[in-house]
Amino acid sequence: MTKRVVITGMGIYSCIGENINKVKESLYNGTSGIVVDQERIAFGYRSPLTGMVPKPNLKKALSRRQRISMGEESEYAYMATIEALESANMSQEFIDKHDVGILYGNDSTAKSVIESNDKIREKQDTTLVGSGAIFQGMNSSVTMNLSTIFKLTGINFTVSAACASGSHAIGMAYQLIKSGLQDYVICGGAQEINKLAMGSFDGLGVFSTNTNNPQEASRPFDMGRDGLVPSGGAATLILESYEAAVKRGAPILGEVIGYGFSSNGEHISTPNVNGPSRAMKMALEQANIPANTIDYVNAHATSTPVGDANEAKAIFEVFGENGPYVSSTKSMTGHECWMAGASEVIYSLIMMKSGFIAPNINLKQPDEAASKLNLVSKTLEKKIDVFLSNSFGFGGTNSALIIKNI
């Protein structure tokens, strides 16, 4: 007997808003969060474009011991998680009495690792790096910090799957709750934003260099796209079994009904059509719904020429003519990488709860593959009952989640 899995809370710290209300406004208005980071020019970046969020001030909220173990991805994740727990009406008192778990997507802690090793090199002494460096530098930094701050006693690990990390974290949480192993899981994705984290990615030459018009640089599916724009922050969702949520009178925002996954088994960075297509089909099979039930697809589309075209082909292959509405919110946020799979479920949930589809901004002329899709380039007032969110990553990892209104 499997359990139904529902979403009862969401919180976000993103370049288009540092909470759900601000993000809702930006999504509706098609507001871009992309800026030029001057530091990156001097550092040798090919492109200085990025999404940006302010550094959270946690001095009042957390003790010194808690703060010094946190790199920026953990700080963003803390902000998003506080909002998610509040929206789920899940108090610390409740957490203390139940096995609440955490599964969070994260795939780098570059700044923490580099800065601590720079200090060791300078001092020629490992002790003088201080006690926080090890906890900031491990890839599981977010889950180890949040699990101790919120005193969590359930499942506790980080999911690293490149730009699909956040999506797979939700998928894993869904599986654990569905199978009855957990009732409550905090899940999401976090992404550091700094020049040390993205230099090697920039080096591949896949970032947009449209510095004259930063807010027009990220243009998924558009003929004129010249690459992605990196971004970051954090996004947290609270997943629970339906029974547990009803029992505690929690607000229910939506139900996770499908999780599909696949691996391309091909190139390390170039995506294909078959892998994403199989992930979407698997999600539909798991949800046990026909493809035409999907009202909206939040595309992974990052604004790279090959990636967007291959995803467009995959979406067309799965949904055919007269398919669902499609947009890529990365046109506004840039590519939130390890965070994206979680944030884009939140963006889509906001749309579902508010009755609109956020635009794929900067879409002037779709390319050949994208022209077969039902792309939304202007904000559309539309009731969404079911949406699918795609996330793909380096190594050919693919994840597709299906969420139903409730």
Binding site: R64, R65, D125, T127, L128, G130, S131
Partner: protein, 80 residues
Amino acid sequence: MDKEVIIEKINNFLVEEFEVEEDDIAPEAGLKETLELDSLDFVDLVVAIESNFGVKLVGEDFVNVKTLQDFYTLIEHKLS
């Protein structure tokens, strides 16, 4: 370095960096019991001493350090 200066510097970083309650600062205060410093904090004490006084402590230096007075005395000896 003058004894008073050493004490003042130590008290300052304990309050400012380690966020120890100012009212808890007293020579007889236990580092673990009163100031609530744990094993990880002792690593950061080594960092703070190095940056404030230019001397590097090692774990064995703390063997007989129980109170704040013991800590002041340790640093005085190291600087003398």
